[in-house]
Point group: C2
Chain length 282, copies 2
Amino acid sequence: MQTVAIAGVGLIGGSFARALRQAGFTGKILGVSSPNTVKLALEYGVIDEATPEQEAFARADLIYLARPVSSILETLDAIDAVVRPGALVTDAGSTKVDIVRRAAKAVRNAVFLGGHPMAGKETRGVSSADPDLFRGRTYFLTPQPFSQMQLPSVMRFREWIQRIGANPVPISPEEHDRLVAFTSHLPQLASTALAAALAGSLDPSQARMGAGPGLLDTTRLALSSYDIWADILQTNQPLVAQALDLYIDKIQEIRASLGEPSARQYFEIAEKFTKLLRKRSV
Amino acid sequence: MQTVAIAGVGLIGGSFARALRQAGFTGKILGVSSPNTVKLALEYGVIDEATPEQEAFARADLIYLARPVSSILETLDAIDAVVRPGALVTDAGSTKVDIVRRAAKAVRNAVFLGGHPMAGKETRGVSSADPDLFRGRTYFLTPQPFSQMQLPSVMRFREWIQRIGANPVPISPEEHDRLVAFTSHLPQLASTALAAALAGSLDPSQARMGAGPGLLDTTRLALSSYDIWADILQTNQPLVAQALDLYIDKIQEIRASLGEPSARQYFEIAEKFTKLLRKRSV
């Protein structure tokens, strides 16, 4: 791996570039982003060159698409005409079924491997890029077919994922999208709905007085921008709706149990699950 | 203020004792708790003496009730017979209407001032006691009548609250209970319901793989024990039910907007509110 093109040098793309460098990557990192972003990325030393998209895709042996999902889908349609034969194209999009399906149709000259690092923070942009963002996190890979994992370029990429401290986990696109509907999309909407419900019921200065650490934790995701979430919700809508329905059912059950001894079971199930969730992931 | 009795030397009671000491309190701190707890509290130097309840209440000029709400209510019924005339009795219970009403009936010989520090963490017990737990946090006081705030003992207590780094905020018991239904009880149940919904839908090891930092934030409150929450939910049930209904409505609205341009408004309202919430409280 000599030349890496990062398309979308934001939080994820910029962090991946910095993580690669920290892990000992000595090749070139080309950045493809808006003029303002590549200027900042060059200033911060996140990328080596600001390169026009077609040129970057023609030169790189690893192309890392860290754009919003809809923009990844568009890029996949265009990339085949310019990509270097045998290059590895991967992405960091938050849903995988649509992306993998599109790539199967559109990408012939390169190898496409879907990816999704379970990392992030509420701040955006290259100025938040962090070489340790992926450390200790799952990095989902959605090989299609599964035997892709044995390709030399895929094996090399997987090794880099380990070097940046993440845990590569192969999974089917369908399983991925179902899983993140619960572990990522549902918590996001639960947090957004909580903040929106509070916004409709309390004056912000009053809410601030009444805010303990728990409210700050539960609303942190509500700082996320819709610009990223629009595509995620669009491309995983049925599963997100299903997760929301199960969540609403659970809240209704708890509401019905208020003041009854049966309320205890929800706390106990939740506590047990939450402890298991933290067993290795913190 | 020469002698303070802490009834319930757990996270809150123990932290208040350590905070007082750190802020320069040189009098005696008497601890009233279970044998195991007072043993630990003495070992950690959180309290000066393990004292039987009646003796502690008879000796103290400040009595700090940091027990579960139902236990505070029972203590209020018994305290008047033993308390030192003119002593200040205060509590750290998470709901205030029932406690203040009970104290108005039961406490005659002492001054009762309801209190509620908006501080906490997911770990319990005196071993988690932290002298900085209250730093930067709101400390609600529910004087009844409001002119209580001018009593010398109340003014001295308020000064100690400031010395431990907290922000004393007088509020009526009714306003308090409505406010915390939204800022504390609703986030708790949203988090518990989220973890319980996930527990019903995913295998824990699978969930752990799919967990990003956002899921850990939104489920942190789900680690709370029902032993504390039973009383809180019991004594604030109608307002908690109302807050849950508004939350369910908001989730339903967001669910209906998935994939529509109207989804953006919820994210924008939530983001704006969440930023305002953090303006001074972090």
